[in-house]
Assembly symmetry: C2
Homo-oligomer: 594 residues x 2
């Protein structure tokens, strides 16, 4: 098939879109693949739609190979579907809600566990009907607080979501593995690097879950890799519990520490005014930081709690969220502090000269947790619960007790791997796929049962498996670009070859058309730049930003019977005879594909 730029609906732009932060967003807009319609909502121009279709086709082929059958559910679903599993509340503001003219409540579906479960419940009744794996490629909606980075975090986006239905746990394990294998094949075909990490199942519930993370600086997730190869989202990182510290410490001492609301100021103050018992410099790690957060429990009730973490680390809100789920976690606001005058901001600590001040059993009753790395018997400099005062020698389990240990502090390079294989490495990544063993949570809530071999009703066990189609497309662009534009891999390029005719000589345009026709006959998708009166410079830079893998230039050389083959990925250009151009290109392309 041949398209021609003289009529093709595309315009390349010189300027980056004002709101674009990441390369894929800038380039997909500038090269004429997508156009923004609203925050996180995009339209697909012909170039972009071609790439989207190719990504979808790869996913379809691998879903089929995994024994999954395609269906298609609506985007508009009754709110009651999600109410039955309590997810309407779980999604909170993240779900688009609306009413029809009769006042019936609907949502724009953010994911379809309930609808799939209900359909299987309506139609299936026996263990003989299972296992079943069904999927769709469908547009989903999430009202993200901060839609950003173009297609990477959109509010309307295309997703492939598959669901498996099994009678037994072993069956679920097989279904899960089939999807997981398919995902590996899909990401390989897309040319997307990935790491499989154990994940937090989050709002999905369920027992086991793994994320496919694509390592990228523009990612919103952080993951770790152990020397053993074991990897995980830091949300799931389990700290190694430290043994209790032996030995006696002096009794706590309160000291003046004016203007030391920050850890840095406190450490400076200590180094200036207090000699360290071991004669060394004070470090942030000697201090205990009190992080105040507000939990919102599923019943809507809010609870303020304090978490103590080593002063040299930041709190990781996503890890706290995992620790406290199903509650949501948010940093305390000024209003929260105003409601809790017992907390002296900047000088909070679990102990004061009058005794413990934090913890369920303390005078305030405010629950107090410690980061999981903090050992019993360890001793700290911490707030004395009086303005401009801190206390030292405040010792865990002697001077105060915690209501529990939680994973709270950020995870850093060099931390010990949970599997004991040594120090971890951390990196940024973005989720490109997610596989969940939901287990029986949804089937239970919605009553999906079948008769087993003995004629007994048993609850079905399920898996759910998602790939962000449009996000993954953006990441392919992100991973495959240079300073001049996109550099598509062959598997998803909008066209296979971009044939450019330059100059004022009709011969060059004729040669371009002839070569395009030959390539098209061989089954390749060809874009011809047949625009009259457009300079070679503009045509070349358009070819570079659009990023089609192979470019053929029919220009001045045509007079000598030659055109150039230009490979976008490495910039190599070579002259070939016009008559050989199509076959030369195909053999080079085949060499790359092999």
């Amino acid at each position: 098939m041949i398209e021609r730029l003289s009529t093709f609906f595309v315009r390349t732009l010189r300027e980056d879109p004002v709101d674009a932060e990441v390369a894929s967003h800038k380039l997909l807009v500038r090269a004429g693949y997508i156009r923004r319609q609203a925050p996180g909502v995009f339209a697909w121009m012909p170039l972009g739609l071609r790439v989207k279709r190719r990504v979808e086709e790869i996913i379809r082929e691998e879903m089929r190979a995994a024994g999954s059958q395609e269906v298609l559910f609506p985007g508009l679903l009754p709110a009651d579907f999600y109410r039955a599993t309590n997810r309407l509340d779980d999604f909170g503001d993240g779900i688009f809600r609306l009413e029809d003219r009769k006042g019936a409540e609907y949502v724009l579906a953010p994911t379809h566990e309930e609808a799939f479960t209900l359909m299987v419940k309506e139609l299936y009744s026996s263990y003989k009907d299972l296992p079943l794996s069904i999927y769709q490629i469908q547009d989903k909606y999430r009202d993200e607080a901060r839609p950003r980075a173009g297609l990477l975090r959109g509010r309307e986006f295309t997703m492939k979501d598959a669901y498996s239905f099994d009678v037994s746990d072993e069956g679920l394990e097989v279904s899960y593995q089939q999807q997981r294998d398919a995902y590996e094949r899909i990401f390989k075909r897309l040319g997307l690097d990935y790491v499989i990490v154990s994940a937090n199942a989050g709002a999905m519930g369920g027992s086991k879950s793994e994320e496919f993370l694509h390592p990228t600086e523009v990612g919103e997730d952080t993951f770790f890799i152990a020397p053993s190869g074991f990897a995980g989202n830091v949300e799931t990182y389990q700290s190694t519990p430290r043994p209790a510290v032996e030995g006696e410490h002096p009794e706590p001492v309160v000291f003046d520490s004016p203007n030391t609301k920050s850890i840095a100021a406190l450490v400076d103050h200590l180094n200036e005014h207090v000699e360290h018992p071991e004669g060394r410099e004070w470090k942030a790690a000697d201090t205990l930081k009190s992080v105040v957060v507000v939990l919102t429990h599923p019943d809507g009730e809010e609870e303020l709690v304090v978490v103590g973490i080593p002063g040299d680390r930041e709190a990781d809100m996503k890890r706290l969220e995992t620790s406290f789920q199903p509650a949501e976690v948010a940093p305390a606001t000024e209003a929260d502090f105003a409601k809790n005058p017992a907390l002296v901001k900047g000088y909070i600590g679990p102990w004061s000269s009058e005794g413990p001040v934090l913890g369920e059993e303390s005078v305030t009753g405010i629950r107090f947790f410690l980061d999981a790395t903090i050992a019993d018997g360890s001793t700290w400099v911490t707030g004395a619960n009086v303005s401009d005062r801190h206390a030292m020698w405040v010792t865990v389990a002697r001077d105060f007790t915690a209501d529990g240990r939680v994973e709270a502090a950020e995870v850093l390079d060099g931390d010990p791997s949970p599997d004991g294989s040594g120090p971890i490495r951390t990196a940024r990544g973005t989720e490109i796929g997610h596989v969940f063993q939901l287990g029986r949570k949804y089937a239970e809530a919605l009553g999906l049962k079948v008769l087993d071999e003995n004629g007994k009703l048993v609850t079905v066990t399920m898996g759910s498996y998602g790939i962000g189609v449009t996000r993954d497309l953006a990441l392919v662009a992100e991973q495959n670009h240079d300073e001049r534009g996109l550099v598509w891999p062959e598997s998803v390029a909008p066209f296979d070859v971009h044939v450019v005719a330059t100059g004022k000589n009709q011969e060059a345009f004729d040669a371009a058309e002839r070569i395009a026709a030959e390539l098209s006959e061989q089954g390749l998708e060809v874009l011809v730049d047949d625009r009259p009166k457009v300079s070679p410079g503009v045509k070349f830079s358009d070819a570079e930003i659009m990023g089609i893998p192979w470019i053929i230039i029919a220009g001045r050389g045509v007079a000598d019977g030659e055109v150039e083959i230009w490979r976008r990925a490495d910039g190599e250009r070579e002259a070939v005879k016009i008559d050989d151009a199509a076959s030369e290109l195909i053999s080079r392309r085949n060499a790359v594909l092999r």
Copy 2:
């Protein structure tokens, strides 16, 4: 490709869905093609999705042949897009509206004129960029008051909408014709009967518009066909104006007519108590019926008006809507009558013994219109504006004047054709496609201008062209079914061949698989009924309801080396040798396709 019923996600149902009125709805649900999720909202099971894809592919091929390029816009669009063209109000309750977490207003797009116009405005600036034709196949949303008949009137439905952009009126004419031609090819390929009728452009605005109507008893539209072949939606039917009636009539006479609120009661009363001047029976056609309706003008103001139509006809609300557009029209309610005590319900007329009582110049000031068929000088029996009294000899243009003539009465078989070619025939139909010349309405409202050849800014002229993909699919089912199930035409059937293995003999199952493999190798899509322990009767009735055009039965005959080829459309069955089955089937199928 081969699918097997032992694992295929489908279940046929014995019972019609409770809310189903039309055959396509009943059969598509019972045969396992679609499942209802909410009123007018459906999910697609694998069988249904296969048909949907084939319909879409036919449309894509013909759009491409018409020079239209595929794009894809979001379903979620800012409400402001529609506010700019006043359509937010025009759509009223028919549009799904929602707010995001920041309170920004959105709609679920019911059609995309604005978004397409804005994108072209952003990217194009010269007459050289035009003409342009772009289209999408996309899910649309309309909050129908009465979603009904399954996919025929849904609230979430798939539509192909194309838009053309031209500099000149002549260009628009060409673009329009290209789409119109493509529509004819599409409906022919779908095997859908159609009539092209001139239509009311309605909420779309614009100058010229034609509907493709599929004649069907389950249709919601009525259209007419003239002896000349000229056809139109009755909404656009133009009555032939009648010449003024010559001659003198007696002065009006008021007479008692107790309990004659209906035309039928009035005619009975006349025949019992009043001699007709010509000695014949009184007929409903001798009476003038006063129809009271409320216009809602675009500014939201309501106005009650009265329309006089011959007593033997009903008022046609859709035709009135066309007459009074852009106002909306609704029958007056009891509350409206209460607000207008001058109207004596059941005895309303334009004249009373005190003079004219209806019309802008009359004592009430209530505007009064006459149906376009009513001639000046014609005389009528009509309400006397006093309870239980009517008047006769009330003569148009002598005793009262109308504020205008409007197309108001229903159109019936035998009415004169607007083109003068004789009596029309009317029939029910459903819109399967619609082509509009929008002209410059949207480009004007949204500022889409380009530089013309002389460097002057000119407003672009547009067309918009829609096909209801899912509705048309349902109509294909509606047109192609019998009492036993669906009977798909080859062009959109979910599979090409349905191979049924019956009995307990493994040989039959092996033969079925062998034939399926041969057919699949020849490029056919094959469904194999390989279910063990399912009776032949069930398998045959499943094959019949699913409606795949060709069925091969591998049963008892396999022992003698034979299977049966069964054509679903005509029920013909013939035994053939197993080894010849695939080639026999293909040659028969080719004979049908030719």
